[in-house]
């Protein structure tokens, strides 16, 4: 038996641990058993243990407190006022700003937001030719790039993988993504609430921006005529010549030739998806390895956890880590009016 007196900290922890043991099946580990045996035969330690229990008992027996009404009213009023202020602006456009902009260089932050016409051009570029669409149903090309820490996670296979090179912007990302989903996921217009309306918003903007509409915005409209996820030709993979079929338009950045960045690995992507959804592994509807505000980023479109009929858009900076709040931006539902 250990005859030395346990440190006060060990005794204090003993109080916790003894309270944690449940029923007859929980057996303390040998060290704890040894300590218990000592304590039970040592008046000094028994006294100390009683003192710690005493403190714990005092703390737990403090009367409960309720927030005073005046404090509650003041805070509630402040919250409502602040919420009303932000609700007048598009909710999604406001919320993520503080998160991701912190990581963006001042130079990039000064870049003007994309105009409606530019959004349209961007979508057209993505659809028309600046895009390499790879359907991941056939094989898992990335399994060999398994990263440490994600080995336990089964890989996910997004329905659609894009390497558009598009530079997504906060104010327009939802419209652009809605249009991309409409174009690439068969039946998405009826499957997901509000998608068509959002994509139509983008289309209406195009109507008021003739220079963009002239350049073939109609490619966006009917999902039936757009490249379907189940049948993109093999030529639209990483080696496709993406510069010729886009109507001669330029993009913010050249399309990547293949998925790149930390989430190119399908297991790392699975890990990230699980983080975003709070543990649920689901196949993303669409993943685009592109840019956000000029920074390499992965755009991930997931079915909403609560309502699978709506889609959620996430942006994960390549420089970041899904587990850290500052690296991820949530752009909310792809549905009209949100």
């Amino acid at each position: 038996m250990n005859t030395s007196h346990p440190e006060p900290e060990a005794l204090a922890e003993l109080v916790d641990r003894r309270a944690d043991f449940h029923g007859d099946t929980d057996v303390p580990d040998p060290n704890t058993r040894e300590m218990l045996a000592h304590v039970e035969n040592c008046p000094q330690c028994t006294e100390k243990l009683a003192e710690i229990r005493h403190v714990r008992g005092l703390l737990r027996s403090l009367p409960g407190v309720s927030m005073p009404d005046d404090v509650a009213s003041r805070i509630e009023a402040t919250l409502r006022a602040e919420a009303a202020k932000t609700a007048t602006a598009p909710a999604i456009a406001v919320l993520p700003r503080q998160r991701i902009s912190q990581r963006i260089s001042p130079r990039l932050r000064r870049m003007p937001q994309l105009s409606a016409a530019a959004v349209v051009v961007l979508v057209m570029v993505a659809l028309g030719g600046g895009i390499a669409a790879i359907v991941m149903n056939s094989s898992d090309n990335n399994a060999s790039h398994n990263t440490a820490g994600s080995a336990a996670m089964a890989p996910v296979k997004p329905d659609v993988v894009l390497t558009s090179g598009a530079n997504y912007q906060q104010g327009s990302i939802r419209q652009v993504v809605a249009a991309l989903v409409m174009a690439h996921v068969p039946g998405s217009a009826t499957q997901f609430d509000g998608l068509k309306s959002l994509a139509t918003d983008a289309q209406s903007s195009a109507a008021s921006a003739p220079e963009a509409a002239d350049k073939g915005f109609s490619a966006l409209s009917p999902p039936a005529s757009a490249p379907a996820a189940s049948a993109p030709p093999a030529s639209r993979t990483s080696n496709a010549d993406s510069s010729t079929s886009g109507g001669g338009m330029t993009q913010h950045a050249p399309a990547r030739t293949a998925p790149s960045g930390p989430l190119a690995d399908s297991r790392a992507l699975a890990q990230c998806v699980a983080t975003l959804t709070g543990g649920a592994v689901q196949q993303p509807v669409l993943v685009d390895y592109a840019d956000y505000n000029g920074q390499p980023a992965t755009i991930i479109v997931l079915r909403d956890q609560v309502n699978p009929a709506v889609l959620d858009v996430w942006v994960e900076l390549d420089s970041g880590n899904c587990a850290h709040d500052g690296d991820t931006a949530y752009f909310g539902r792809l549905s009209a009016g949100t």
């Binding site: 060990a10 309270a19 009683a50 005493h54 407190v65 509630e76 919320l95």
Partner: protein
């Protein structure tokens, strides 16, 4: 044989409380969604559901009602503005507690960095003022004793020992390993022992419980800190 005690002790993870917590989590998700969708009342409702728990934590940690109110307001505004960053990998209540506790710890640390200078003959300025909120002599002594702890120990003691949150939950709130929470509590309690020895809650009874391997009995007034507020508050 060591058993968890039954009647007379607070069991913080009993089934009804768990169910209530689960129902609360669903409410939270719905309300958060409404907030993100632009409902200007939704976040205020989230606040109403959690305010007493958050208040208790802020008040116990800071020890001053005005400071607690300011810290809580700052924290909730920050939480509301960053609500889109809540990703559902923890309970919303955990996330809110984290933001509130961090706001309190910031204040405590700032205060520690700029200690108020008290003159040697300044004997009318107690470390804690009694009029901050209505409390018994015993609660006042406990609060004064808590003032002697480091901010980290204090937060751990407040969450685990006073408010009764499970260690694992507190680890998530404080974003430290469970072992760290336990050791902060252990050190904090060890510091409190000499300061609170004079407050008796029945040493003989404690002694008997030590021998039986049971935690100290708790008074009937102990708040059930994991119990959600009445559902009627939800509109």
């Amino acid at each position: 044989m060591i058993k968890r005690s039954g009647a007379g002790t607070k069991d913080f993870d009993d089934a009804p409380a768990t169910l209530t917590a689960m129902a609360g989590a669903v409410d939270d998700r719905v309300l958060l969604r409404r907030h993100l969708d632009g409902d200007p009342d939704a976040f205020a409702e989230i606040f109403r559901l959690h305010r007493d728990h958050l208040w208790a934590v802020a008040l116990r940690t800071l020890g001053d009602a005005d400071e607690a109110a300011d810290a809580l307001q700052d924290a909730l505004l920050s939480a509301m503005r960053h609500a889109a960053s809540f990703r559902g990998d923890a309970l919303l209540s955990t996330w809110l507690h984290r933001i509130v506790v961090n706001a309190c710890l910031d204040r405590l640390r700032r205060k520690a960095a700029r200690p108020t200078v008290s003159l040697p003959d300044d004997d009318h300025a107690p470390a804690a003022s009694r009029d901050a909120y209505d409390e018994s002599d015993q609660a006042f002594d406990v609060r004064a004793a808590l003032d002697t702890l480091s901010p980290e120990q204090r937060a751990a003691i407040v969450l685990v020992d006073i408010e009764g949150y499970p260690v694992d939950e507190v680890a998530k709130i404080l974003e430290v390993p469970s072992g760290t929470v336990k050791s902060r509590c252990a050190r904090g309690r060890a510091k409190l022992v000499p300061l609170l020895a004079h407050l008796a809650i029945g040493n003989q009874r404690l002694q008997a419980n030590v021998e039986a391997g049971e935690p100290a009995p708790l008074s009937q007034e102990t708040p059930s800190s994991l119990e959600a507020p009445p559902r009627e508050e939800l509109r």
